[in-house]
Symmetry: C2
Subunit: 186 residues, 2 copies
């Protein structure tokens, strides 16, 4: 279905709101609870009512912010699968995730948020889809256990979002190693 036509000022406002929210989250180290919608509206140069017209709840706004973070990650999967065997592709993709999240804290917040299935399940099917492909290939090759799905992996990866920044380098790799080993077929 084709996107409906929108007034150009509405489109511009929407973009400025999301940009302001991303900037605010980047400043506050990505803690979603500290996002003041009043301040986002002010920073975007719109009234509060406008913010609410576009995003009827804080979660709707965060969902859009996170959807933008997620694109690059999901897009990295197909080339990896083309070049490496499934388990290698998964390991390399997770290495990339660690490296990406090390500098950009919001990425982990996005992954954690994608676990609240209620609102987000539909929104970024992209990550879910990419992970499902990875897992299916691994299962078909007999390298991964058959009883896990993309949601399980996303839930487990959520552990990374609670690693304090100071311990990131020491702990992130260990956690991912445990998860990957746990996903292996025995």
């Amino acid at each position: 279905m084709p996107a409906r036509a929108h007034r150009s000022d509405a489109v511009a406002n929407r973009e400025r709101i999301v940009a302001a929210a991303r900037a605010a989250l980047a400043d506050s180290n990505g803690a979603a609870g500290e996002l003041s919608l009043h301040l986002v509206a002010k920073a975007a140069g719109v009234g509060q009512g406008t913010l609410y017209r576009h995003f009827p709840s804080r979660e709707h706004l965060l969902a859009e912010v996170y959807r933008q973070e997620m694109g690059e990650l999901a897009g990295a999967v197909p080339p990896l699968l083309a070049e490496y065997p499934p388990l290698d592709a998964l390991t390399r993709w997770l290495d990339r995730l660690i490296e990406y999240a090390r500098v950009k804290r919001g990425v982990m917040a996005a992954i954690e948020a994608s676990a609240w299935q209620d609102l987000y399940a539909g929104h970024h099917g992209r990550l879910d889809e990419a992970l499902t492909t990875l897992l299916d290939r691994g299962k078909a090759a007999g390298e991964l256990r058959a009883d896990v799905d993309a949601t399980d992996v996303i839930l487990l990866l959520g552990a990374l979002s609670r690693v304090p920044e100071a311990e990131w380098d020491a702990r992130a790799r260990t956690l991912v190693a445990v998860i990957v080993d746990g996903l292996r077929r025995r």
Copy 2:
């Protein structure tokens, strides 16, 4: 060091505040963000200032609530270790955790909170201590990998706290199975 003497009304107030907070959390399905301190004070029959005297921040109050949830879980470890080999003891303890959390949602919130090391690290050494014992025994027996600590396990178990209630039975066991397999020595 012996506990300082407190006025009996202060002790009683503190207990009633914690009890009111636990009751409020039990009602709201354990979502810590929805705990209104105004309402907790009112339910406990104290002024807001009294709540703040005892718990200088929402987190301090939650820490006490969670500390109480944690006791039983940690206490179950020594008997299990006395009766079973390390890996069996770990598996059985996690089974108990799943069963316990199935009916009492606050338990998972408590475990998740214990990952914010800043405030909680000292407070419930009990869970940390119990898990460290379990892991050390397993490492000594050559059954568990040597590069994980109790914090890693707590972080991974945090995945359970984001499993929607409707999916609990189907997903909790799988997640724990993946975690246990990941902790095994290869």
